[in-house]
């Protein structure tokens, strides 16, 4: 049982100080992340994932990289959530150990044209590495191609732009196991509902690889594994602030709803507010991404029962390591995934530590007691 | 005789079911200067707006040289060689004088690029011919009302025109500019251009007009050759009954002992008011005379706290006051009736009532609320007292005739019961009946102990009302004349011209 091993693994390490990346020794991702978790996501070109746990930079390699006085830029699609923050933190901390200066961090605010501008602008600083997540694999491809042509090593998060080739144009894609996270959310849902009931799905109504994978995984898992659970309502959002409105609508139409899956944590908070308002304290909400507010809700055994967590900090570390590989001229796998992590009340504090590399805030600590 | 150049037959017009023109006939011959007269709200502007396509008549026909025409908009009017100097709204404040004058028929080259040099040169010529000193490149919005009026006239003159309508063209002009305008009118007349001339100033009418048509309450009451009618009759037609003729100065008694109510010492403000000093006593009416641009309005504005004062002091009842804003002035008991009612005096989109109560809101409070019953009562009172022609007190100010708008501005400040009242061109656009009323009101106020300053370009009016006249020349007070010392208009005229 994967879930069990996960829980065991992390709870046994509770008293270890696992937070900061160690100041010396080889660089790897958090050792406590379980090995045996099957990675379900496939890469953008259907590649099978290589586990991020296999990546490592030795001390000698680090020393060698340090001599290069390399520069890196981080080009985000959006910088306004815990996921991005943790990812950037992971990248910055690891790059620092590698003696690589982070010369710019940009936020495209989900606009691909802004991202293209950001790439151009960042190139003015002649970075050696760009770590980036494309807003959209099609429309940003040209700009990345140009960056690649100018000799910059590209490491991608989650998705690779169309038409770019691994090994030639880019170093690697490091992804969370989005598919696995969708499955985790489905499993928690099924567990909490006793394998039976009517549920709704709030999905991201946009052509975005990551969120599409999650919803697909959730729905497929429910349909295939839990025939007694019926998806009776679907509602799309494009603006995360609309979670509440859409959830309210779904609840109005389906007052007998038992559960609700929301594609990520920010709209899930809106759904939470809607459920509270409707007096539906018995509703089961599951989602993806361990944000502060949903973590608090899980810890206090509220309406949000659990979620599939990504490990953005470690994803950041992986990306930095892969950048190091490229600088050293080492072979890199095309698709690396960081395992999904199933979070429920039982393991929420450990999960927090694992995800963010620091202790959970007091409010969550006290709620979990 | 030939067919008349223009004939309007049986013109009627309704606004919201109220008939403002009632089967009016109007005929204009070639080369004729035809005065259109009537009280405020008689329908003069409306009739002319029908002729220029601003409004459409509900009944009646228009013939030009015997041919029936329909005039739906300004372009139809232009095609019929009709142009008009409007009483309101016809310049674009953000454009220059030359741009305004040639608006919508700008000279341009073969590919459509404007030839501004040409329009500026043409403008300069027109202005020179009119003997007006305006730079064609000045932004109209920066100019004073008088210059607006001149620009309007220049604009109308720059058209190829057969019929030129002038709606109160001299209302903001001084004697000198008026003379210039009359010279121009005579020139045009010789060229065979016909002019419809609207004015409330009797003397002008008899100086330049050949014919006169009088409207009252939307009906035509008379058309006569000018030389066959006298002023008495005209006034009688306009007013409808005998007018108590108080348009003459009467010596009044007030005390110049003790402390003046207002004392201005060495006032300097902006570039136009230089070192002006004067005193104003309780119950006194002080006239201020000067050429256009001499700084009279600026003086009023400085006292009222709109323009900053660079130097000098203001004492009210012997006490020094620092007036930094109009609200300081209002608190000190001063009121200013500004020269431009549309820009400075009124919120045109607001009703008569809303405009009237604006300065007295704080006096209308019942708890924190506005006492609307009282507000209505006060408004009704002033509408009656000033004889404001409006359907009801909730009518939007911009829908009132020009003269009636001016009366609202007056009502607004009278309602506030100020100690010191400054009136800048208070009778612009006001009809002969109302002018007399306003002058009476000014006298009454003075008799009741208020102190009043009247700025006016109409010397007759100034002479009729003032106890003392201050002459301003290029921003300095050059002369102070006791009314008793002024035996004729010429004396004052000389003083104003500065010799």
């Amino acid at each position: 049982n994967q879930n069990k091993s996960n829980t065991e693994n992390s709870s046994s390490d509770q008293n270890k100080s696992s937070s900061e990346a160690p100041a010396s020794g080889p660089i790897t991702i958090n050792k406590e992340i379980s090995d045996d978790q099957l990675i379900l996501s496939k890469g953008p070109h259907g590649e099978t994932a290589v586990s991020a746990k296999t990546l490592e930079l030795t001390e000698e390699e680090i020393a060698k990289i340090k001599q290069g006085n390399y520069k890196a830029a981080i080009v985000m699609h959006y910088a306004g959530n815990d996921w991005s923050t943790a990812q950037i933190d992971g990248l910055k901390a690891t790059f620092e150990r590698m003696g690589i200066e982070v010369v710019a961090v940009t936020d495209a605010d989900f606009k691909s044209e802004k991202q293209v501008s950001d790439i151009e602008t960042v190139l003015a600083k002649n970075p050696d590495i760009i770590v980036s997540i494309p807003v959209d694999p099609v429309s940003t491809a040209e700009a990345y191609k140009k960056a690649a042509e100018s000799g910059v090593k590209l490491v991608f998060m989650d998705n690779a732009p169309q038409g770019l080739e691994h090994g030639k144009d880019y170093v690697s894609v490091v992804s969370a196991d989005n598919y696995g996270n969708g499955v985790a959310a489905a499993e928690i849902m099924a567990e909490k509902l006793g394998g039976k009931g009517k549920i709704g799905v709030i999905f991201h109504d946009a052509d975005f690889f990551v969120t599409k994978q999650r919803t697909e995984a959730f729905e497929k898992t429910i349909q295939e594994k839990y025939p007694d659970i019926e998806i009776v309502a679907r509602g799309g959002i494009t603006d995360p602030n609309d979670g509440e409105k859409v959830a309210s609508g779904i609840l109005t139409k389906n007052p007998d709803l038992d559960g609700l899956f929301v594609v990520w944590d920010v709209p899930a908070e809106g759904a939470l507010a809607a459920a509270r308002t409707a007096g539906r304290d018995d509703l089961v909400i599951t989602t993806i991404d361990l944000g502060t507010n949903v973590a608090l809700e899980i810890a206090s055994d509220g309406i949000v029962k659990g979620l599939g967590a990504q490990l953005p900090y470690d994803q950041g570390i992986s990306e930095a390591i892969l950048a190091g590989y490229a600088l050293l001229g080492k072979e890199t796998p095309p698709y690396v995934a960081v395992p999904a992590y199933k979070v429920t009340k039982e393991n929420v504090l450990d999960a927090w530590k694992l995800v963010y590399h620091k202790e959970a805030p007091d409010s969550i600590q006290s709620a979990a007691k | 005789m030939d067919k008349p150049l223009l004939s309007m037959k049986g013109i009627s017009k309704y606004f919201n079911g109220i008939k403002v023109l009632d089967s009016v006939d109007f005929t204009l011959n070639k080369g004729e200067v035809h005065a259109l007269m009537g009280g405020n709200g008689a329908g003069k502007s409306t009739l002319m707006k029908i002729l220029t396509g601003v409004y459409q008549a509900d009944e009646g026909e228009i013939y030009i040289e015997g041919n029936k025409v329909t005039i739906k908009d300004a372009n139809d009017a232009k095609n019929n060689y009709i142009s008009m100097i409007f009483q309101e709204f016809s310049l674009i404040p953000s454009l220059t004088v030359a741009e305004n004058i040639f608006l919508a028929r700008e000279p341009k080259n073969a590919i459509g690029i404007l030839n501004d040099k040409k329009s500026i040169a043409r403008t300069r010529e027109i202005l020179k011919e009119m003997e007006i000193d305006i730079n064609p490149k000045d932004i109209v919005g920066d100019l004073g009302v008088g210059y607006w009026q001149m620009t309007e006239i220049a604009k109308a003159l720059s058209h190829e025109t057969k019929i030129l309508i002038m709606d109160e063209p001299t209302s903001s002009l001084t004697e000198k500019e008026t003379d210039v305008l009359f010279k121009i009118i005579n020139k045009l007349k010789k060229k065979g251009i016909s002019i419809i001339y609207i004015s409330h100033r009797m003397d002008e009418i008899f100086r330049i007009c050949d014919k006169i048509t009088i409207l009252r309450d939307g009906k035509k009451v008379a058309t006569e050759q000018c030389n066959q009618i006298d002023m008495e009759t005209v006034i009688q037609h306009i007013v409808g009954d005998d007018l108590d003729k108080s348009f003459e100065w009467k010596e009044r008694y007030y005390s110049t002992e003790g402390t003046p109510v207002l004392e201005v010492k060495n006032l300097t403000s902006g570039s136009k008011v230089k070192d002006i000093s004067f005193q104003l006593y309780s119950g006194e009416i002080l006239g201020i005379a000067g050429l256009m641009g001499s700084g009279r309005s600026e003086l009023a504005r400085a006292i009222f706290g709109i323009d900053p004062i660079n130097k000098g002091e203001i004492y009210i009842k012997g006490k020094k006051h620092t007036i930094k804003s109009p609200s300081d002035a209002v608190n000190a008991g001063i009121a200013l009736i500004p020269e431009d009612r549309r820009l400075q005096g009124l919120i045109l989109d607001y009703s008569v009532k809303e405009n009237t109560i604006l300065p007295i809101l704080s006096k209308l409070k019942k708890g924190i609320f506005i006492d609307h019953r009282k507000a209505n009562m006060i408004t009704e009172k002033f509408v009656k007292r000033l004889n404001i022609k409006t359907d009801h007190i909730f009518k939007t100010a911009k829908l009132l005739s020009g003269g009636n708008q001016q009366k609202i501005v007056l009502a607004k400040w009278l309602a506030n019961d100020p100690e010191i009242l400054i009136l800048d061109e208070p009778t612009i656009g006001v009809d002969i009946g109302a002018k007399t009323e306003i002058i009476d009101i000014i006298r009454e106020l003075a008799d009741s102990g208020k102190s009043i300053i009247v700025i006016s370009s109409e010397l007759q009016e100034l002479l009729a009302v003032s106890d003392r006249i201050l002459v301003i020349h290029e921003g300095r007070n050059v002369k102070e004349l006791k009314r008793k010392e002024i035996h004729s208009e010429e004396v004052l005229q000389h003083a104003i011209q500065g010799h």
């Binding site: 910088a79 306004g80 959530n81 815990d82 991005s84 923050t85 109504d205 309502a233 509602g235 799309g236 494009t238 603006d239 995360p240 602030n241 509440e244 409105k245 309210s248 609508g249 109005t252 139409k253 920010v266 908070e269 809106g270 507010a273 509270r276 308002t277 409707a278 944000g291 502060t292 507010n293 608090l296 409010s363 969550i364 | 919201n16 709109i306 804003s325 109009p326 609200s327 209002v330 608190n331 200013l336 500004p338 820009l343 400075q344 005096g345 009124l346 919120i347 045109l348 989109d349 607001y350 809303e354 604006l358 300065p359 809101l361 704080s362 209308l364 924190i368 609320f369 506005i370 009801h392």
Partner: protein, 310 residues
Amino acid sequence: MAFDWRNYIVYIAFIGVLIYFSVTLYDEGFLSTSNLLNIARQTAMISIMGVAMTFVISTGEIDLSVGSITALSSLTAALALQAGFGLIGGLAAGLGTGLLVGLVNGFLVTKIAIPSFLVTLGMMEAVKGLAMWITNTAPVPIVHSTFNYLFGSGDIGPIPILLIWTVVITVIGHILLKKTAFGRQTLATGGNEIAAKYTGIKTNRIKFIVFLISGLMAGFAGLLYAGRMHSGRFTFGEGDELSVIAAVILGGTSLFGGVGTVIGTVFGSIMIGTINNGLIIMGLDVSQQMIIKGLIIILAVAFGRKTLKK
């Protein structure tokens, strides 16, 4: 004065929308009390900011910073609560934030005479940046249950507290605008600033106050977001400035100043909220929702209200 139904278009449109959804979505629970109360909850913040924005727009100015203020004040309130300053502390932090930004806006518009569009556009960016910066974009949970109850989540009997706040603010706003000297002077300032000045109205002071009110109400909306979501977050109120302005204009306030109606604004806000809600319940795609919403907004006024036009 003659009755002109076109002056009441927002009410007519609102009733039209209501009837349409009531008929088509009858079986889907649109007319259920809980759904109608949801609409009230969802529109409360826009309505409340709209009341204040009605004043701003009535003076001929604009305030684009309200959305960002909302975000920042939800965070300052949440941080104050987290730091243990209690209910009053949280309230003071949230409202104070709004008031402070309003003060800066008002100062720059009236004293430095920068057009309000640019001032508040700049503040919108700067304040949003600040909101992102103070917690590095992390949300701040609020566990203070009285706070959450009072500002957003609570009900009194069947009536959501958000609805009560909306009604209270609307009534105060309406009286202030229509029944007091201040309101008159606000409208006069927008109607003709020069004439208003010549009347002794301190137009700059009016404008200053109006920006304070707008900031304060945006701060208050931030508290309501915080209480409703049990947290502060920098994305709250994102884009609200446009919804708020839309509600104001839809309600019949003139973008050029001089004409304003608080009640119209609130109906404008509720109408947009009702459309959103109805379309979601209809189960349309987001894209279809947007198309239809856009068209309804246009149609709602296509009957052409005279006074709406400058």
